[in-house]
Symmetry: C2
Subunit: 347 residues, 2 copies
DNA sequence: AGCGCCTCCCGAAACGTTTTGGTTTTGGCT
DNA sequence: AGCCAAAACCAAAACGTTTCGGGAGGCGCT
């Protein structure tokens, strides 16, 4: 009934502002992008008109004319993973400081979803995208969607030699190697690892670091101790179950992301094993409630927010034609020792 | 150096596709929005041209012409709160099914940030917004930013009689009342509550439910047991500390959101109190790792995803001029009893 | 007076779509 | 052949900005 009446109330345009202020369209525009000559008196008339008319600039028209939207996209694989929230916030904060606006995509570790987001953002003509590719992506497909939009990879990077503007993350093999060394130094010899999908360069690097540490300690590498999950709780749970219910179970488990560490912890609790006494657990990525868990999780922390900020910086520098910092930009990780790892029990 | 060369490579337009396919611009458009007459032969020529040129439609131009973007915004106060991630995903899933695209905003419980997002989305001419207002918002301010863009409120709603298209959430006073009754039924008489800011209708409703349950049990209401926090871990921690270190400490604490429950749990652990034996803890909002905590948290669960889906539905129905379900739409909560509440110790 | 140079403002042409109102082509029917 | 409707296509006008090329005054100088 009453909803019918006021249809199609369109937005107020710059033209109406011009009318109200007794000025021309181009003068309004000049005043808006406060540059050029416009007299103080005219300016105040314009501001008044804008206020009373509640004018809101149309960024579609603006972007169309300018061939530039002053916005970048950030697409991450899992918003419920706090690591990526921090990363997004890093991107956001840097972008805001450079007066860029961000569009957020959440692919849920699913290429179809990611493709939709990338496509949508491309159609919206973002000026660039920082991308954390979904796991089941096989390389090069994004190129077909994004054309020659500048892309910087954060955290993960594509397997194939894709073309991109920059890459930022951590030295994953080094980080995994030293984390594994920590477990070795505690005396562990039977260490299980749950990694992400092998299609991810990041996962491969972490696995490589693990293997390298094991080999460096002259320990026979038991391939059945290596499980590839999907970076979510379920697969962490599943693979931990596999590892812990076999004949000779590992005395420590290393999970290469936080979600899988959580799943593994759930599995440990479910089986009724004491952690860390009966099995140590080492995670990747810190999160704000890691200290609420019992045991408090020992993890290797990545500087998520910084990764996001640097990614945004490299991207925006590129967009604006500046030269930027060298890439790949590798940031430092840090082993946060808490309570979930201890020396193995004597057999 | 080499980055200099290939400047200003613009996007390929519908005109170039027309050229390549030997057709007119309008025919391409017709083919794209696959309607109207276009012969099979022509269509395939066009598709070929699109493929080889890697044409990507410009949604700025499209939205400008159509006066409609087929997109809605969702702005939430805290993306690191899993409740809102689920809500966003609900919005996203419903929107996708209606072939709407979403833009995500994360205000971090901060009106300035929220305003920026709302403004940015308005300028982008989204067709509507579902909004979970930040805490420190005093009513009516959003109206000034959004003009007469349709808004539906989810989870929280504004204090003032703001004009909106719909509202969806839960019956907060009822939920809080029955949660409190549960604590009472366990035998608690000294119950502390940590609520959100009083500027939020949601917080007020939950507090109202709490008070009503207390009064219903003929217990004197001790106002010093009522603390108003900011829906984050810090304030949960802070107020729990206050409550637990006073002369007569409560035997149970009810936190009206999950972040504050986490903070309270941290405080309890810090003080070294046994939970639930020495102090019971009851939270609001469930989250996927609530069972990993020790004790496993007892909470009242809201159907976050459904709230998002319904919000999107109401909004999109409105946008398309359909009539929708009655509003406010109040969904059912559920008390998930786990281990963090038990009868109080005998004094 | 004439000239040049500011300052302040304006008209019109883009930007890449969709849509309206055509015009041409096709093919079936007398 | 001739006619006509339907099918297939097209040109041009919007949509709301910004920018480019001027233009009208005003002022200081020769």
């Amino acid at each position: 009934m009453k909803a019918r009446a006021k249809r199609v109330r369109r937005h107020v345009t710059i033209r109406e502002v011009a009318q109200a202020a007794g000025a021309s369209v181009s003068t309004i525009s000049a005043a808006l992008n406060n540059s050029d000559y416009v007299s103080a008196d005219m300016r105040s008339r314009i501001e008044a008109a804008i206020k009373t008319l509640k004018y809101c600039p149309n960024d579609l028209a603006r972007g169309l004319r300018l061939q530039k939207t002053h916005s970048i996209a950030i697409v991450v694989p899992d918003l419920s993973n706090n690591f990526y929230i921090e990363l997004v916030r890093g991107v956001k904060d840097y972008s805001a400081s450079a007066s860029y606006t961000i569009l957020i995509g959440d692919s849920r570790e699913n290429w179809e979803e990611e493709r939709n987001y990338l496509d949508s953002f491309h159609r919206r003509r973002v000026d660039g995208v920082v991308r954390v590719p979904a796991m089941n992506t096989t390389g090069g497909k994004a190129k077909a969607i994004l054309g020659n939009l500048p892309v910087v990879y954060a955290d993960r990077h594509p397997r194939e030699r894709d073309t991109y503007v920059g890459r930022v993350g951590v030295d994953n093999t080094q980080a995994a190697k030293s984390a594994t060394s920590y477990l070795l130094s505690l005396g562990h010899r039977d260490i299980g690892i749950i990694t992400g999908d092998a299609s991810s360069g990041t996962s491969r690097d972490r696995l490589r670091g693990f293997v390298s540490a094991i080999r460096g300690a002259k320990i026979r590498l038991d391939r059945s101790m290596i499980h590839a999950g999907h970076n979510d709780m379920e697969s962490g749970h599943f693979h931990a179950m596999q590892l812990l219910t076999r004949g000779q179970r590992p005395t420590a488990i290393f999970c290469t992301n936080n979600m899988m560490a959580l799943g593994a912890l759930a599995a440990i609790q479910e089986i009724g094993l004491a952690c860390p006494e009966e099995v140590s657990l080492l995670g990747f990525d810190d999160f704000y409630w890691a200290t609420l868990l019992r045991p408090r999780l020992t993890v290797v922390r990545q500087p998520a927010r910084e990764i996001g900020m640097i990614a945004a910086r490299i991207l925006i520098d590129h967009i604006e034609g500046r030269s930027s910092i060298p890439t790949p930009a590798l940031l430092k990780t840090q082993l946060i020792v808490r309570d979930s790892c201890c020396p193995p029990e004597k057999m």
